[in-house]
Subunit: 158 residues, 2 copies
DNA sequence: CAGACATTGTTACTTATGCAACTAAATGAC
DNA sequence: GTCATTTAGTTGCATAAGTAACAATGTCTG
């Protein structure tokens, strides 16, 4: 199925019309949803970690030590969402919290020992999933997609 | 910021690591979310129509007459989600329902007069939004994106 | 340093979403 | 035809997610 034209084009001059299959926001949303559901089987089914919790874990795997606020900025997640994900992870013993001495409102978050272990186990599985998923594209297309996404949703300013 | 490599690469051989900024499911989800929120201002703020309701309206704008089941198949939406979207639209008088004579379980859905009117008003605004959004990409990139999305999430088999 | 304003994170309330169980109708085996 | 199995759509319950209001702390102005 071709998808190369703009999705909206008048057919009858007196009536606007829209081809949903070619409507980018729709296709994007459907794709992201399907990807998310598929990937979630790894961290949800196998490890009992929610989508937002996984995201927090991943970010802390990369940056070791962050406040909730920083996580918000980096991921564009709502602060309530982050707060809840963090609290869940703390209860599961995957995160360690240290009060920020410089700012008593903030809390510094790091992986706990169990968190590090979990992360080490999860990442290869997630990696395998991504690799398999991207097999549908050529190397060139993967690179194109990355460029395009970056243009449409510029990465973090933090 | 470059995003051309696979997002997962071992840095320290003994420790796996993951760069979230380059992790495709994450980037895809964030992009789709931002697009969705931005677009929703049109149909939610201006017309009081939810995301899934908009989708149902759009599909019926294209196919005139569908059952809820067909909408499920076409959009990959959960049947409960469709059911609720439809019921909401019926209450708002944007949809008309006709029992299917051939199958008494099914209900045929069409735009009501008000629904048609609403649709005619919404589509140009949505179209304008998409056009503006896609200005960030070259014509070639738009075409590449369409091709890539179709490979990653093949369009409807209905 | 006092008062106004901003910021971090939480809680409470509301709405969206998903799954499982259900009703009613249809299909199919025999 | 009758009983078991699917199927269309709804309802009920549990979870996710967003908004607004809040407490506690920080910052800035004068």
């Amino acid at each position: 199925m071709q998808l190369n034209d703009l999705s909206l084009m008048p057919i009858d001059p007196s009536n606007v019309s829209l081809n949903l299959d070619r409507f980018l926001p729709y296709r994007l949303n459907r794709l992201a949803h399907n990807v998310g559901v598929s990937l979630a089987t790894i961290y949800t089914d196998a490890f009992g970690i929610s989508r937002s919790q996984w995201r927090v874990m991943a970010l802390l795997g990369q940056h070791q030590r962050l406040t909730a606020k920083q996580i918000c900025n980096m991921t564009h997640m709502d602060k309530v969402k982050v707060s809840r994900a963090v609290n869940g992870l703390v209860k599961l013993n995957y995160l360690q919290t240290t009060p920020d001495k410089a700012d008593k409102r903030a809390v510094l978050l790091t992986h706990s020992v169990e968190g590090k272990e979990l992360f080490q186990v999860m990442v290869p599985q997630v990696q395998a999933w991504e690799e398999d998923f991207l097999k549908k594209l050529s190397v060139q297309e993967i690179s194109q997609l990355a460029t395009i996404i970056d243009k449409l949703d510029p990465s973090n300013e933090y």
